[in-house]
Symmetry: C2
Subunit: 155 residues, 2 copies
DNA sequence: GAGAACTATTTGCACAAGCAGGTAAGCCGC
DNA sequence: GCGGCTTACCTGCTTGTGCAAATAGTTCTC
């Protein structure tokens, strides 16, 4: 034992830290969004992902990947949101197996309403995490990630 | 809009990256551990947490915090593991409300068997993630976290 | 252009999670 | 040492998830 075990231990520790921070943020967001807008984190994520495709549509599978969900979960998630009138499904003429989803005005509206709470909760949680010695380094690292290929500049 | 929105966008991007990496690792571990040892990631985490308290016990609530689970989920999780003979519950004389859990030899054994797969899967997934442009920076950051207060030296 | 092979989505089923409510045990003031 | 409050854990119920199988549509081969 030695070098290999050390590397494994570093990875394991990193993973524990990652999981801990993820759990903290996830549950904070879940509570906040659920309480105010009856939205789960995944649901918010899906709406948000759709809004980035503004004017566009997304296939179920793209959505599944974006939300890190199985396709069956995606089907039901989309159904829930559709029932609430937040998005709409429609077949695309191109490939009639494919189903596209699109935000409705209501969906866009709810997302706009929820975003500030989402951001505020995220900020609060990160700040809180920055005070915990075992999470602080990761929080710092998050802020220093590549400027994020956010909205790919329309260069 | 401007500075504030930028900060929010950075946080949101960081969160998306964090969530993506977490999801990737989590599902890889889940599949591997489930297939080989019929263990979920949370179950493994609990066994692992217990093993760190070697010779010791943990109360349900400590366990709940360690696994980022609700107490009801913890009850059932512990029940599952107990039924499989991997850990044992016992009342502690101190505070008869409290219930302590301890790894059984079988539990220790299964954990020892599963750990290499866990570590290997973790390594493979991190390596894979390091090839994705959007995840690579975070993976690098993980490796550079504080040397981790691993096993707090018995100083 | 008919059939095999593949892909996209949906549905049946089993399971694990959270919340709310229940019970047992400790703690406190009197 | 008896009520009242709190804490620690367990149980009923509802919901979301993944896997596997079913269905509908596309593509490729001959």
């Amino acid at each position: 034992m030695g070098i290999q075990d050390d590397a494994a231990e570093i990875r394991a520790g990193g993973w524990r830290t990652l999981a801990a921070l993820h759990g903290l943020i996830d549950s904070a967001l879940e509570k906040a969004l659920q309480a105010e807008y009856r939205l789960s984190v995944v649901e918010y994520t899906v709406l948000e992902a759709l809004s980035r495709q503004d004017g566009w549509h997304m296939r179920m599978q793209q959505l599944a990947r974006a939300a890190a969900l199985s396709s069956s979960a995606t089907t039901r998630l989309v159904s829930r949101l559709e029932e609430r009138g937040l998005l709409s499904r429609y077949l695309c003429a191109d490939d009639r197996r494919g189903i596209y989803t699109e935000l409705t005005p209501q969906g866009r509206e709810l997302l706009a309403a929820a975003r500030p709470l989402h951001d505020a909760t995220l900020e609060a949680t990160l700040t809180e995490a920055a005070d915990l010695p075992e999470l602080a380094p990761l929080v710092r690292a998050l802020y220093e990630l590549e400027p994020a290929p956010a909205a790919p500049a329309k260069a």
